[in-house]
Amino acid sequence: MKKNRRRGASWRRLKHYPATLVGFFIVGFFLLMAFIGPLVAPYGYSDQNLSERLQPPSREHIIGTDQFGRDVFSRVLVGSRDIYLTAGSGALLAVLIGLAIGLIAGYFGGLVDEILMRLIDVLLAIPPLLLAMIVLFSLGSSRLNVVIVVGFLYIPMVSRVVRSVVLDLKTRQFVEAAKLRGETSLYIMFREILPSVLPPLAVEASMRFSYAIFLVASLGFLGLGVQPPSPDWGLMVGEARNFFSQAMWALFGPAGAVVILVVSVGFMSDGLRRMLLPGGVSE
């Protein structure tokens, strides 16, 4: 039949979208580095060499050295572990809680929906960076707290996407057929509705991930994230800022890494959308 070649074709179709391929490749590269970074990096991320402070890019140091003579390239490679771990867990937390809220609000509707969605509106009304700063100032900055803040901040977007998909799905006739055989609400939510929520959720999750990378880097830059000497990209940019006139590469290295990764994740999520939602689900 005409439709069953759709899934198979979606991978092949990717070759028409080079940006997506590049996105997948770069995201994959940094992910690999998150695992094997310390093994392949030319120097240890905290190896100081004060005689080689603020060196320009050279054969030994591809993007130069920072104020302690540490190799920026090695620090960027090793730092991808931090960014993946923090931003990834934050996004995952947001996806899990957002999914639960979206499912419940969308499926039950009525008063439940009204209360949950108004709470979400309150959360959306607070400027995210401000909220993050207040929370981290009062709780103290640790990786766990950053993860919680990031997760908390992105719950509204995820739950809204999930809710809109559930609202559409629950009026479909396969859900009515399930009601006609007396299925419980839990069964309908998890067995009938959830599987169809997953593809748009995966797209949404990848978008949240790219936003989370940005937020984690911002928090690091402001000194609210992971503490030195860890090779956090945001933190590195923050530190290098003071030596910008002498060694701009120490700033451009990690800043460039953030930009490249955020853009790549964006390309990837575009590709995911194309593969998983070929009909196009509007948000």
Binding site: M1, K2, K3, N4, R6, A9, R12, R13, H16, R172, Q173, F174, E176, A177, A178, K179, L180, R181, G182, E183, E192, P195, S196
Partner: protein, 699 residues
């Protein structure tokens, strides 16, 4: 009408001529020839019907003719001549002066073809001004003239209205007015009545036919509905998978078809005027081939019951049969089709009907009502302390006996689906009793016991939404068995196979996902799922409406077969009177939430009819150009169920209204015997007389 100016016909060959047209789409899987070597001619003043199933390339042809293909589509070869001028060679810029003045189009969905932020009058006036350059005031006057010319009631008021204030039928009239205001040489109509109710469709078709008689416009009318072609067109081309199969005058093609595909299509349509329930509809086995996997020989050969080796070896050319005016066919064996059509038809023609043996009543709905509160509340209503409601179902009582099928017909918005959903418990009835067997069922499905749930199951309208896209179809059918019947693994598998077999699906299908099977097969799975619990009552809510005619036919055969063999009682809902008539032994006619006529299928179609039934019946497009139908037409649009007219609810639209009594008093139920009941003020003997007289006029 004097508002038109006749355009001079230029060129040697007036009208539209399409020569050897091949259209290619560039897809990711390479180029696909979706239309191949198509040729046809339309003379000025002629209505040419292009008919085919979905996926046959009808709309692509229309778009190619106006030189407006999608960006990946190209005309690979061939010529499109309008009054002798080749349109293929024109640039988009040159086409712009042709679109709207020489070629106009009416599309399927009227709501998408109008600008929602412009008044109707201005939209017509704009069209006039762009193409003739007359003053604003004149154009506006002409717009009102056009509206009255397409028989719009109260044209000057309608001109000031906006699209959302008009009904679908009225909008389609506006679009016809816009399409004809420039007096085009070619008018293309792409399924212009498909989105409308039958009653409105009939009015629009009458309008199109009457208006075009005055014009020298060539009309390309695209549709999947054979009945519409029979009623409207002069000539017809039957298209299949992008190629012409048969072409000729309507009177010949519908009577003496010379291609097995035409034969199959016409045999697929249930005929309302024939009083035979035991007939097995002719079907076309298999599916329409995709343009990238066309068979080497005749493209119809794999589905043809009379195909021979020669048919499969090479593709047959179109031949002029010399059987009267311009009747051509792409069948090598057309003489055989002509002389012994039964060789190409379904082997089984009749089915032995089993009569139900018990008198048990399966469903007894007593005074069922469903009122929806209106979300928009007016202050005045609040002060007076009433909440306005939509009376979607207003007091419906009917009984279904064991083994019988009750068909429910009515226009869209008359409450048939809401009634069915109340019975199923998907909608909470506001009042009344729903008695199944001897049990009074709770209103909502969640309050019903497993035993009660088993008794009512439903088949839904939209095949794409009725199966969970993430579950295999086997799992979808198995779930009700494990949930409501607690079957063991081994018995389950046997039962599944039996169910799949009963709906004519191979058991290998169980592992497929819904997107891997066709629409008709999805509906078969949905039927299997509904039958899994051995329901006493099966509710079918428009189960075939969204499918192609040949698929409809095979599904109807399956439904009939199942119902006949298993003795399941069925509530069959459809707007298609012919389908209801074919499948049901009893018919109930519903309008504005109430029943107006109920009786056995054969009684309903003989006078006396309720005037509403009569209108439904005479609106039905019958695929036979010689069919005798009285011309009873309704004024458009079912009124809103919020402000129900007093007296007889049907009186504002009733073609047989007798007088004040209809406006003030609710009509009584009259019994014509054999449980044939009609709710009308007119005495039944009188109805018989006038309705027989009307039919007599036609003969």
């Amino acid at each position: 009408m004097s508002i038109r100016t006749t355009k001079k016909v230029q060129g040697a060959s007036p009208g539209l001529e399409v020569r050897d047209l091949t259209i290619t789409y560039n897809t990711e899987d390479g180029p696909l020839d979706t239309v191949r070597n198509l040729s046809f001619k339309i003379a000025p003043g002629e209505i040419y019907g292009l008919v085919g199933e979905s996926g046959s390339g009808k709309t692509t042809i229309a778009r190619a003719v106006v030189n407006y293909l999608a960006s990946n589509g190209t005309i690979k070869s061939g010529r499109i001549l309008l009054d002798g001028v080749d349109l293929c060679t024109k640039t988009k810029k040159e086409m712009r002066s042709i679109w709207g003045s020489d070629i106009t189009m009416v599309h399927q969905d009227p709501n998408k073809s109008v600008n929602p932020s412009m008044s109707i009058g201005n939209q017509i006036a704009e069209m006039v001004r762009v193409h003739s350059g007359i003053s604003k005031a004149e154009a506006r006057k002409k717009a009102v003239d056009m509206l009255s010319w397409v028989r719009m009631p109260d044209p000057s008021r309608v001109a000031r209205r906006y699209p959302h204030q008009l009904s679908g039928g009225q909008l389609q009239r506006v679009l016809i007015a816009i399409a004809l205001v420039t007096n085009p040489r070619l008018l293309i109509m792409d399924e212009p009545t498909t989105a409308l109710d039958v009653t409105t469709e009939a009015v629009i078709l009458d309008l199109i036919r009457d208006l075009l008689m005055e014009y020298q416009t060539a009309v390309l009318y695209i549709t999947h509905n054979l009945g519409v072609v029979a009623r409207l067109c002069h000539r017809v081309g039957v298209i299949y998978a992008g190629a012409l199969m048969e072409q000729g005058p309507v009177s010949r093609v519908f009577k003496k078809m010379l291609h097995p595909y035409t034969l199959g299509l016409l045999g697929s349509v249930p005929r309302v005027e024939l009083d035979k329930r035991d007939i097995v509809l002719n079907t076309i086995p298999g599916y329409i081939p995709q343009p990238d996997s066309l068979p080497a020989g005749c493209i119809f050969a794999p589905r043809c019951r009379g195909a021979e080796d020669a048919c499969r070896a090479s593709r047959p050319p179109l031949v002029d049969t010399k059987e009267g005016a311009d009747h051509i066919t792409a069948c090598r064996r057309w003489q055989v089709v002509k002389n012994t059509p039964e060789k190409f038809a379904n082997p089984q023609e009749k089915r032995e009907m089993r009569e139900p043996t018990t008198e048990d009543i399966v469903l007894d709905s007593v005074n069922v009502k469903k009122y929806f509160p209106i979300s928009r509340v007016r202050l005045g209503d609040l002060i007076r302390g009433k909440r306005p409601v939509v009376k979607a179902v207003d007091d419906i009582s009917l009984r279904i006996r064991q083994g019988f099928t009750m068909g429910i017909v009515g226009e869209s918005g008359c409450g048939k689906t809401t009634f069915a959903r109340c019975i199923a418990g998907l909608e909470k009835a506001s009042a009344g009793k729903i008695i199944v067997g001897d049990e009074n069922l709770p209103y909502v499905v969640s309050k019903r016991s497993a035993d009660q749930l088993k008794k009512i199951q439903m088949v839904f309208q939209n095949p794409d939404a009725s199966l969970n896209p993430q579950h295999t179809v086997g799992a979808s059918v198995a779930r009700p068995l494990t949930r409501l019947k607690n079957l063991s693994k081994k018995v389950l598998q046997e039962r599944l196979e039996e169910l799949f077999q009963s709906v004519n699906l191979p058991k290998e299908y169980m592992n497929r996902l819904p997107h891997e099977i066709s629409g008709g097969e999805k509906q078969r799975v949905a039927i299997a799922r509904a039958l899994a619990t051995d329901p006493k009552l099966l509710i079918c809510d428009e189960p075939i409406s969204s499918l192609d005619v040949s698929v409809q036919a095979s599904l109807m055969n399956t439904l009939m077969e199942l119902q006949n063999r298993r003795g399941t009682s069925c509530l069959f809902i459809s707007h298609d009177l012919a389908a209801v008539k074919h499948l049901s032994s009893w018919i109930a006619v519903i309008y504005l939430g109430r029943l107006w006529e109920i009786g056995s299928a054969s009684d309903i179609l003989k006078p006396p009819h309720h005037p509403y039934t009569e209108a439904l019946f005479s609106a039905l497009p019958i695929p036979d150009p010689d069919a005798k139908q009285s011309r009873v037409r309704l004024r458009e649009a079912v009124p809103s169920a919020v402000t129900i007219p007093p007296g007889c609810r049907f009186h504002p639209r009733c073609p047989r209204k007798v007088g004040e009594i209809c406006e003030n008093e609710e009509p009584p139920w009259q019994d014509y015997g054999h449980w044939h009941k009609i709710c009308c003020h007119i005495p039944l003997e009188e109805l018989v007389e006038i309705q027989n007289a009307d039919e007599g006029d036609l003969q």
